[in-house]
Subunit: 261 residues, 3 copies
């Protein structure tokens, strides 16, 4: 945390890290610098076991307007290069982060900004927020995994409609589709997100890490292969001090204190 | 369009092709001739870039009663041969057609008729329409991909129930499950479908083609592999004249005119 | 059926087999003996074509409290061994049983108990029942395929929330998510389940067996590969005496009598 970030407001309080996209003048468009700073932050968190839960939100009214179109593809030869060299490693880092990430969405999440939110483990939205999928308005396609996420949340025909029409989903539609876990009035959003993070930070970290990996891998595994993967993860969990602590706490009728070991 | 079709009512008006199954005396049962004519029409459309959107509907009250059971397996040795040699190439042609296909369902869609509708990119139904999945009533199983589609729209247990009971879903249940995008009163169905097709025909054709392929392929790809596929598709889109036109139109505050280039 | 079971109440009446988990003093926790007896029963049923439908329920108020934690991993060296050697073959046997299995859930289904219910083809729940996914409360992860099932029924973010919070879903939430097919008042549960089983037992057994396999395999197949698999299954079905009987019954305006041949 010695680093000073130009595009992020980053802080760790207790077991909670809070990353806020902080370029409200561009509605938090993803620039090269923002991607680079996010990769640095998540790489840091990956090895920081004192942090149990990550809040991933924004300053200003928007979550993110998507890619910074003014900056364009920057130093890259092609947009494919940019997506694969800058975005893909960052999205992968988030998907494999040991800690749960809660997306905190105060307003619009657009384009690849929505792809980032949908790559989080949990999503809490302001009830006045929305998701905008406007790629085809300018002749483009969803990127950053948005087509994968939307297909799974909406089914093929609804996902095709949203994307083909360059449409918008209200927060209530996002909740209905399972894109958001919870809606909260805008003025209570960060307080509610923080309180949720606090609750989760008291839960067994190794189990949460393993659950995250299981659910992500299960999406392309067969039922039988998932059973086998669960069995391996259970083996990891059952030998931890945290499981022993949970049993002891239960017998002693006190709350368990998990140490992530 | 020189061809005269015996089982189809086919017309192209502006950028919209309209294919109507036209054997109302059999409730538009799929016969060998109908399959052959549909394959000819879709093969034609595949290379007709003047057509931007395809409406796929029917004359009479039904969308389709499914396979023509009176005709049976025709010249084929087995039903498997018939399905793989006549139905599979036709369903594949629709799945890979560059243009979006809107299924327009005025009444019942039964058996493999429902499989055809669910293979379209968008589905608009009369609010008095329904889907009938009666295969097991006569000891058969869903075909033409219906089991794949129903599993994804309904989940395993609901799909098993519908098929095992030879059941029917109302238009409202189809909407709820994402099988239909929209319900419309029967007497406004074709007008509404046409108006939707007009709207979509003004949107960027290459982006729509790429979205269709992305969403279809993403169903069996991992998240990471989908990100890579999106990046390739974005590369195709970003170099088109249509994307440049979209940006110019935005700066000039006028609607974009897409040419599919 | 010569065997006397210590953990099960098992009976066959007509074409319906009823398996009740019968250790109400442990809320039907899965013990080594229960797993072994279930494997014996399902292995028996696999070859008993007189049985057309299986009811899988419980005595007492709970469906199952999950794994028997007092017994622990028993003779096994690791929990992974136990899961792969005892649970996986049993879940696989159920998944491949020719007959449909209806889970009958009178109260709570917890942990791997819920995994067993979700592995059934149909689920009927008491409207006062619930699903409890408490693994992470004691530092563990879902097993027995529960993560696979929950991902598909709830989507990633909702599944992550349920598991990470060690949460509970009401019967109504289970119905909404497609985890339950039907809710029934508790005092009518077994009567309703039996009546449903009777209805299904009159339907074409080979078609139901093939549908079960198609839908389970389709979850990891592409659309095109599923069409090919359906075509093979249709070939099996169309040659059966049951299909001929269905056609004859239709022409003679009488109910079909299926023999599973």
């Amino acid at each position: 945390m010695a680093a000073a970030y130009k595009t992020l407001d980053y802080a760790v309080t207790g077991a909670i890290a809070t990353i806020l996209l902080d370029k409200p003048e561009t509605l938090n468009a993803f620039s090269q610098q923002m991607r680079s700073e996010l990769l640095a932050v998540f790489s840091d968190l990956e090895n920081n076991s004192a942090v149990r839960v990550v809040l991933f939100g924004s300053t200003g009214k928007a979550f993110s307007s998507g890619a910074d179109l003014v900056e364009g593809i920057g130093e890259h030869k092609t947009v494919e290069d940019q997506l694969m060299k800058e975005y893909a490693p960052l999205l992968d880092k988030m998907a494999n982060l040991p800690q749960p990430i809660i997306a905190v969405v105060p307003g619009v999440m657009a384009g690849i900004g929505a792809a980032f939110a949908m790559n989080c483990d949990l999503v809490v939205m302001s009830d006045t927020g929305s998701m905008l999928m406007a790629f085809t308005n300018i002749g483009l396609v969803p990127d950053g995994g948005a087509s994968w996420q939307l297909l799974r949340h909406l089914g093929y025909q609804r996902a095709f409609q949203l994307i083909a029409e360059g449409g918008r989903m209200s927060a209530h539609d996002c909740l209905e589709a399972g894109i958001a876990n919870k809606l909260v009035p805008a003025d209570q959003l960060m307080a509610e997100a923080r309180s949720w993070a606090e609750e989760l930070s008291g839960r067994a970290p190794i189990a949460l890490r393993e659950v995250k990996q299981l659910l992500r891998k299960a999406s392309v595994l067969s039922y039988a292969d998932t059973i086998a993967l669960e069995a391996k993860a259970q083996n990891v969990c059952i030998g931890t001090a945290d499981t022993a602590e949970a049993v002891a706490a239960f017998l002693e009728k006190r709350p368990a204190v998990f140490k992530g070991r």
